[in-house]
Structure formats: C-alpha cells, structure tokens
C-alpha cells in the first residue's frame, strides 16, 4: 500500500463522513460548513490523483463560490441558524437509493478492475489540460459558452420579476 | 377510356364532398347529389370494361390467376411503405361498386328531401360522399396497403354521421363503433404488413396468383389477424356488439350505408384479401369460421325473436344474414363463395330498403317500439306493403334477392361434406326458418291487427308517401325483384374469378 493509497482512503473517508453529516444534521449553517469539508476533501482527492487544475478549480468554484453563496443566502433570507427539527425528512428512501447506488457502483468497479495497479500519469496542470482541450475538445468548449450565457441571462430574469413585465 | 371511368368513380365523390362542404345548405346538398349521380353513371359505364360482355358465362382457363382486372390504374405513391395507387375492378368487386354508388345516390336524394335533426344538410351529404370514397376505394384497391388506407377512411366520417345526426344515445354508440372498427383496422394493418414483409410486395394481383409462396406460419398468423379484422367489420359473432347500437342510433341514411355497404367491406375483404392471400390459413380456419357463422345465424335469429324495437331488430337481422354470407365463405367451395357474393349484394339492397322504411315509420309515428306500433295496414297501406315486401325479401323467399344467398350457403355446406359441415348446414337451415319466424312476427305486430293509438294519431296527409321517398325506394324494390329473378346479373360476372380463387385455395 503506497502513501497515495493511504491518502486516497483517508480523504475518501472524510468526504463520505462529512457528506453524511451534511444530510443528517439539523442545523443549516453547520450543514453548509460540512459541505465545505466534503468538497475540500474531494479537491484533496483530485490532488492526490495529480489532477492539479481540477483540484484548484474545485476549491475556487465549489468551496469558494457555491458554499459562500449558500451562506449568504442563509444570512439574507434570515433562515434559522439554530436547530430546525422540521428539516428532518424520512431518510429511508434516500438511504436505500444512495446506499444502493454507491454500493452498486463500488461492486461494478471492483468486478471490472479487480486488484490492479495504475500508473499515475503526468500532472494535470493547466498547460496539459489546455493542450487537450484545444486539440480535441474545442467544439464542446465553445458550445458551453452559449450554455453559460443562457444561464447567466436566465438567472437574471428569474431573480428580477420586474424586468419586462407591466403591472 | 375505361381507366377514365375508374378514376372518375373515385374522383367524382371527392369533388362532390368538397363542393357540398363549401356551399351553403341547399346548394351544397344539390351539388353533392349531382356528383353522386355522376359517380353512379360512371360506375355503370365501368361495366363496359368487362372483356367478354355482360351475360357471358365464359369459363376461365385452367390456372388463371384469381384476380384479372377488367381495367386498372397503377401509379406509385409511397414506395417506402409498399403503397401504390393500384386500382382495378373485376367481377367480384363490380357488383359491390354499383351497389355502393347506387345506395349513396339514394341517400343523397333522401337527404335533399329531409335532413335529420343535429346539423346542416350539406355537411351530412359531404360526409356521406367521403364515406363513399372510402367504400369505393376499398372495393377497387388492388394493393394491400392502399386497401388498408381506404378501409380507415370510412371510420371518422361514419362516426361523425352517427354522433352528429343520430338518436338519443348517439354519442355512446358512435364511440363504440369507432373504437371497435379501429381495433379491427389496426389488426388489419398488422396482418397486411405480416404478409408484405414476408412476400416483399403488396400487390394483390401478384400475391393471389401464387407467384409468391408464404410459409405456413406466416399464412396462419396473417389469416388470423386479417380474419379477426374482417370479423369485426362484417360483423361475425362474437365481435358484433357494436352493430346494434350503431345501426339503431344512426340516422336513416347512416343506417342504410352502414348496413348496405360497410358490412360488405368486411366480407369482401375476407374473400379477396384473407382467403386470396393466405389460402392455407383459410383452409386451416374454415371449420372455426363456419361454426362461428352458424352461431351468428342462430344467435341473430334468437335475439331478433325477442326484440321490441324496429331498427334494432333489423340490425340483429343483419348479424344473421352476414352469418349466412360468412358460412358461404367458410365452406371454401365455388358455390359457397358465389352464395356469399350474391348474399352480399342482396343484403345490401334489401336491408338498405328496410332501413329506409324503418326511418320512414319512425319519422311519421315518432316511435320504433313494436309494442306501440300496430295496424299500419289500416292507415298507410302502401308503406305497410313495402315493409312486408322488404321483410319477405329479407327472409329469403324464392324469387326475391335474399333467397340465393341463404339457400346456396346451406347447399355449399352440404356440398363440402363431412359430418361437421352437414350439421352446420342443417343448423343454418333451421336459422333460415327462424328468420322467417321473426320477420313474420314483425309484420304481425307492425302491419296487421287493429291500428294502435300511435298509428292513429298523425293526420293522413302527414303519413302519405312523398315523391322523393318513392324515388329513393323504388330502385331498391326493383333490384330486389330483379336480382331474385336473374341472379346472373351478379353471379355471371363473378363466376370466373371465383372459380380461379377456389382452384388457388384448394391447390
């Protein structure tokens, strides 16, 4: 067992554990903070797997933007900060589906890959990803720009009910 | 020239329907009637295409194909679906074509004079003409997929006629009619493409001539699907439950066309398509078909004996008569099929007349209830006389058209031989006697005896037979007599094709 394997296991455990805490806790702000830990652990996993750019992007977008947005939303809507017992939902269907999917995928991968060793490739830094992207994947990249523009404009319309409407 | 008549027979009703729909009420009805008359004339002129002359008993050569069209038109339409515009007429379909154009013309004339409540007359005439296109297309189609398309054309206009101008429970009856008929049609679609996928062609002339052989499994599957489809249309017991409601609730002209022609699409399809294309399947299924046909005869008769409503009784009598026709087809002998063909035409003429008369009775006395009607002879002797004539023609009196179909279906069953068929023949003969019984009961209740209050009520001028009614009924009366005395009018044309068909089936 190499050091990378140990790190993968440890970070994976942190990610799964904090993920479980996100959905089981009944305090909203704590859920947001557990999400930070979870996503940070996933970023750590990417780093161990030498996908540097993806790890930094994960931290920037998910931890930085998304979670901060979550916390701002909690603040501005004056959501309850303490315990909220009504946040609880029957967990059994979710456990069945989530656990089933997770265990199923694990079984599939174990069956397909068995006990094999994978050589880690060269580090996935910005230069390498850029070369790959602009050598083979330009079209989806450009179409994504249309998607993002649409999302931007759409978000503005959804959030500003006074645009364009006459009372 | 003959191709022109063929195209005209199909195109004229289409033009008439368009004209009738677009013009205002009275003008639309006149327009539709004129085009229906032109179509009738075109169908008569189409008879001149017969190669050997009208009354010839020209025997066919040995091994001639079952379908030798007198004239045909063949244009490609949708090659990707094996659909060609291939129309043609021969001895089997020609009498039905003339019957269709004649009955539609009479219905349009009737509508000129009297429009039932529920909508405008010109729309009714337009719908009648669209139904006519569907019926004519079915009889003239020589391509299986084209046959299916025209089979479907009939459904919605007939639904609209029943739902728009019908009786009290018209919506339910119309919906039942539409769903049952579509059930049959979709099975027809699957059956047609079972054959087309296996054979590679949809051309009826090729498929029936024996040039293409289908495996036994394909033939059995195809015949089952096609037979069920045509059994729904004919109708064959036990798939007949749509018929009484549809016939009873439809307006007079709707009932005339339904009973007169639409039912024939099923039996024609059985003879032409099911037996022609899948002969081995026909041989395999003929005992079952015969049994169901005789069951239809007996059930129809027994139910008729218990009926209390005039139109419903005539509707169930159709089930019985179609049972005779289907028995003739099931025997797969030349006599049987000939009996079926003339039984078809005779039933069309006579039941058309019966429904006209039933409609006349209901319009005058505002009821069709047998318990309420009585003594029609006292107040309206001509109407009661015509009703008696039609009823007697329907029960199969020799000398009138109905005799040939019934009698020779029984003869064909005996001709087929074997204990089962002889039993079926005997039961069918008993059914014929029961037919006489219920028609006599009908006449006894409606025409004889003292005049009931309902019959007494309307004043004499209101119940007199009017000119247009006479114009509408007299061709049917004359034809019932003529076909009864000179069956060669129908049988002479169809002898050669039927002979070839039986040779192909028993090969």
């Amino acid at each position: 067992m190499t050091g990378a394997d140990v790190l993968l296991l440890a970070l994976g455990a942190v990610a799964v554990g904090s993920g479980v805490l996100v959905v089981t806790t009944d305090q909203l702000v704590r859920a947001g903070l557990y999400l930070v830990v979870c996503l940070g652990a996933v970023a750590g996993l990417y780093l161990v797997l030498t996908a540097e750019l993806v790890a930094w992007v994960q931290v920037l977008i998910y931890v930085g933007a998304v979670v901060v947005l979550l916390l701002f939303a909690v603040m501005l809507t004056r959501a309850p900060i303490g315990r909220s017992p009504d946040l609880d939902r029957p967990g059994l269907p979710a456990v069945l589906i989530g656990g089933g999917a997770g265990l199923g995928l694990a079984a599939l991968f174990a069956d397909a890959f068995r006990w094999s060793a994978v050589e880690l490739p060269a580090p996935g830094n910005a230069e390498r990803i850029g070369t790959e992207l602009f050598r083979a994947w330009v079209l989806p990249f450009e179409v994504l720009s249309v998607l993002l523009l649409a999302a931007l404009v759409g978000a503005i319309i959804v959030s500003r009910p006074d645009i364009g409407s006459r009372s | 020239m003959n191709e022109a008549f063929l195209v005209a027979v199909l195109a004229l009703p289409a033009l008439g329907a368009a004209g009738a729909a677009l013009c205002p009420d009275r003008a639309g009805r006149w327009c539709g009637t004129v085009f229906a008359a032109l179509a009738f004339v075109a169908s008569l002129l189409l008879g001149t295409a017969h190669p050997a002359g009208w009354f010839s008993y020209a025997p066919s050569g040995q091994g001639a194909p079952p379908i030798v069209p007198w004239t045909s038109v063949d244009v490609s339409w949708v090659p990707a679906l094996d659909l060609r515009l291939h129309f043609g007429v021969d001895g089997v379909s020609y009498p039905l074509v003339v019957l269709t154009t004649l009955l539609t013309l009479l219905c349009c004339l009737y509508t000129l004079w009297h429009v039932p409540a529920g909508g405008r007359g010109n729309t009714l005439v337009a719908l009648l003409l669209v139904v006519e296109i569907g019926m004519l297309g079915t009889f003239l189609a020589l391509d299986l997929v084209l046959f299916f398309v025209f089979f479907e054309v009939v459904l919605l206009p007939m639904y609209a006629i029943i739902a728009g101008w019908g009786g009290d429970q018209r919506r339910h009856a119309a919906r039942k009619f539409a769903l049952y008929t579509l059930f049959g049609s979709v099975l027809l679609l699957v059956g047609v493409f079972t054959v087309v996928a296996a054979a590679g062609t949809a051309d009826l002339v090729t498929l029936t001539s024996g040039a293409v052989t289908l495996t036994r499994t394909t033939q059995l599957a195809a015949f089952t699907l096609l037979a069920i489809a045509f059994a729904v249309k004919s109708p064959l017991w036990p798939l007949h439950t749509w018929l009484p409601d549809a016939h009873t609730q439809a307006p007079t002209v709707g009932s005339v066309l339904l009973a007169g022609v639409l039912l024939k699409m099923g039996t024609y399809g059985l003879i032409r398509v099911a037996v022609g294309v899948a002969p081995e399947g026909a041989r395999w299924a003929s005992p079952l078909l015969g049994t169901l046909a005789v069951a239809a005869i007996l059930v129809g008769c027994l139910v008729c004996l218990a009926q209390t409503e005039l139109k419903r009784l005539i509707a169930y009598s159709s089930v019985g008569h179609m049972g005779f026709v289907l028995l003739g087809v099931a025997t797969l002998t030349a006599t049987g099929i000939q009996a079926a063909l003339i039984g078809n035409v005779a039933h069309g003429i006579i039941t058309g007349l019966l429904f006209f008369l039933a409609g006349a009775v209901k319009d005058r006395f505002h009821t069709g209830d047998l318990a309420v009607l009585g003594g029609l002879r006292e107040r309206s002797p001509w109407l009661s006389g015509l009703l008696a004539f039609a009823a007697i023609a329907s029960l199969g009196l020799p000398g009138l058209a109905g005799f040939w179909g019934e009698a020779f279906a029984v003869v064909a069953a005996f001709e087929r031989g074997g204990a089962g068929w002889v039993t079926l023949g005997v039961l069918a003969a008993i059914g014929g006697a029961l037919t006489a019984a219920y028609f006599m009961r009908l006449l006894g209740k409606v025409t004889h005896g003292a005049a009931s209050p309902a019959v007494e009520a309307p004043p004499l001028p209101a119940i007199r037979i009017s000119g247009p009614e006479l114009v509408a009924w007299s061709p049917l009366v004359v034809l019932a007599l003529l076909v009864g005395l000179v069956p060669a009018l129908v049988l002479g044309l169809s002898e050669a094709p039927v002979q070839s068909l039986i040779e192909a089936v028993t090969r």
Partner: protein, 495 residues
Amino acid sequence: MTQAVDHVALLPGYLAAGTAVLVLLADLFVARRVVTLAVAAGGAVATAVAAIVVGAGSDRSTFCVGDACSYLANDRSALVAALFGFLTLGVLGLSAPLLRAGVAPAGEYCFLLACSMTGGVVLGAAGDVVTLIIALETLTLPLYVLVGMRRQTVESAAAAVTFFVVSVVATAVSLLGAALLYAVTGRLHLSTLGPALTGDVSLAGGAPVRALDLPLTSVGIALLVLGLAFKVAAVPFHAWAPPTYDGAPLPVAAYLSTASKLGGVVAILAVVTVALPPAVTGPILAALAVLTMTVGNLVALRQIRMTRLLAWSSVAQAGYILAPLGALALADGRTGDAFSTAVTAAVAYTVFFVVLELGAFAAVVALREPTADGGRIDSYRGAARRHRWIGAALALALIGLAGLPPGLAGLFAKVAVVRSLLTGSSGWLAVVVALNAVVGLAYYVRVAALLYAPDPLDRPARAVPWPVAGVLLLATAFALAIGFAPQLVLDWAAG
C-alpha cells in the same frame, strides 16, 4: 496543434448562436419588441435555410481527432437543424401575443429560445458523447427559465422547479453512464465507441476481456440510455412532463413537446445507432417503448385539462417513436436492412409527430387568452362552431395524432412504424402498438367531438392574433402536404 475547422459545415450552428447574440443586441440598442421578434424569426429561418443548403451538398465533418469527428454535417443533421429552425420560428410566432401582453421580456425570451435552438442544431450533428450531452443541456437549460415565465402563478414556478430538478438528475445519470463507458473503453467519440464496446478491452493493464462481458459496460450503457430517456419523457421517467406542460406558458409547452422531445429522440438515436451495441440497448428500448405507450395512453384517458392531455398523449407518442428501436431486441431486427428501416421509421415518425403536435398547440394557443394556460377540456366545448377553421385545424391535428384519415400524416407514421417492426420480425410489438392506437383514439376523438358539440353557454368568438393564425395555417398546411406526400418525409428520414 489545433483542430481543423470547416466553417461551411458549422454554418447553421454559427447562424443559430449569432441569432442569439443579435437578439440581445437588438433588444439593447433598438428596444422595440417587434424588431427583436423579427430578428429572432429571421435568424431561425436563416438557420433552417443554411442547414438545408449545407445538407444538400456532400457530407462534411469537422473538429476531428484522427478519424473520429465531433461535428458531423450529414443529411440527418441537416434535417434536425432545419426542424429546430422551423420549430423555433413557429414558437416565436405563437409567443407574439404573450410578449405583447408583457408576460416576459421580449429580448431575453427570444434570446433563450435562440440558445435552445443552437443546442438543438449542434445536437443533430454531435459526434461524441461530450458534445451530445452538452448540446442537450444547452437545448434544455433555457427552457428551465422559460417554463417559469408565468411569474404570478404558483403552477409555473412549481413546474419550473420540477423540470429543473428532474432534468438535472437525468443529465447526471447520462453523464455517469458516459463516464463508466469511458472507464471501460477510454473512448468518447461515438464512431470509435461502437467498435470498442464490441471488442476486447484490457483494464488497468490486466488480461484482455470482452467489453460486453463486464457488468460495468452494461450498466454504463443502461445508464446512458435511461438518462436520455428522461428527456423524451419515457415511462418511468415521465412524471415531470404533465405538470411542467401545464404550468408553462402555452408556447413554451409547445416548444417542450416538439423541439425538446425531438432533441431527446435525436440523442437516443445517435447513441443507439452508432455507439452502443443493439443487443444490449434493444431490450431496454423495447421495454421502455411498451411501458411508455401503454401508461401514456391509459392515463391520458382520465385527463380533464387540455395541456395535461396533450402532455400525456405526447408521452404515449414518444413510445411509438421508440417502438421501432425495440425491434433491435431480437436478432432478426439487427440485420442491416431491418436496422436501417427501424431508424428511418423512428425519425419519420418524429417528423410527422412534431408537425402535428405544433399544429395542435398552435390551435390551442389561438383559442386561449395570451396569458392563460391550457385550461379545462370542457372550456373547449363548441370551439369549432365559434372558430370554424381553428376548430377544424385542432380536430385535424388530434385525429392525425390518433393516426386516422384525414390526418394522413399520422396514419402513414403509424404504418411506417408497424412496417419496420414486422420487417424486424417483432410482430408482438406491432400488435402492442396497434392496440395502443385504439386506446389513443378514445381520448383524441372525445376532445375532437367536444369541439363540435353545441355550446350551452353560447360564448362569443375571440379575435386571433395574426402571428398565431399564420403559424397555425403553416403547420396545418405542412401536415396536409406531408400527409399526401409522405414519401418526402421518408426520404429525408432515410438520410
């Protein structure tokens, strides 16, 4: 070293994206609703025309890595792009009264529709899984916002959220499937994925093993197909469709049931025909088709609201579209001739369906207030007596969807499907399709008959705005034309 770009092949895509940007600029600088709509409509027409012109030439491909290309401009992609262009044009016409009433801001509304059209155009030509899924998402994301445009109502917001959540889950499922397939084969381009899946793979340097023997492969294929089945609203992933159609503004519901469904079908066809082995996808699609047809028709019988009825009927119609692909379940259905017939039948049915559905929705829009939803079916009683031609057009569309004359387009669509099933020896599936057609007639004819029933309330006729009437006229005329000349559609579908 970058990829070669064939700009001619990309012309429809450029025009579609350019329309989107141009619409925003027009709205910014000119700020007149009519001009914005005109620019959007002109762009949609230009996209369609460019697609037809490019498709008339030889097949082109661009953004290639070796032999595998991400953008394939062939006859089928031209057909899809042209359809998207014309559908967008139609929906823009139907939206004109909505925008005049001020329900939504004109510039942003047209921009979102144009973005959706761009996604559709690229989807038709997608050559690899990544482009496919991104294009599908570009097609759907603007619709999340557009569904919620009737802002003062709760149904609209609920519809938007339902649609958003379900769609995102669907995209995630299909992405997971694609990722699993990448894990097994290391390929993403559709043309290379096919041979890789039927061949041998050696995972992580182990012994070579048949890719199809690994359960991982089958699960990946299943997830990809099922994720795409969400978009088409196939049972059991259909539950979002009725509330979403009902809550959305009517023109957006029209776009959802035509263009969005077209996109889902195109995506499924792209993966099933090229990449995934038919022996695995065939049974999945057969099961989906049977379930979808049956459940869609049976539940539609009970509907009392017009848009929900149209939604459930479009669920059932998706079943008819998937049915020819269900023939792949049997070995006879996978032979070259039967396979190509099945794909042609599916594409042809989609074209017929899309035209008839647009006609039906256009008629419904013409009969309702601009800001209203579809309303109860009872409120259409006697509509054909008040508005002769609109009622006739709606009846024609409904009867066409049922598959009867005079809606010949629908009849030939069903004939094509049954024919392809019997050519592929799937007689049982043909009988299921046939029986479902009977069930379908029950509710289509009920609504069509209600249009002609006498109206006890004796409501007056309403004025119909000319763009809506124009779209209805064009859609109905086109439906009649392809009804009498279905060979055209079958030729286009065969590619």
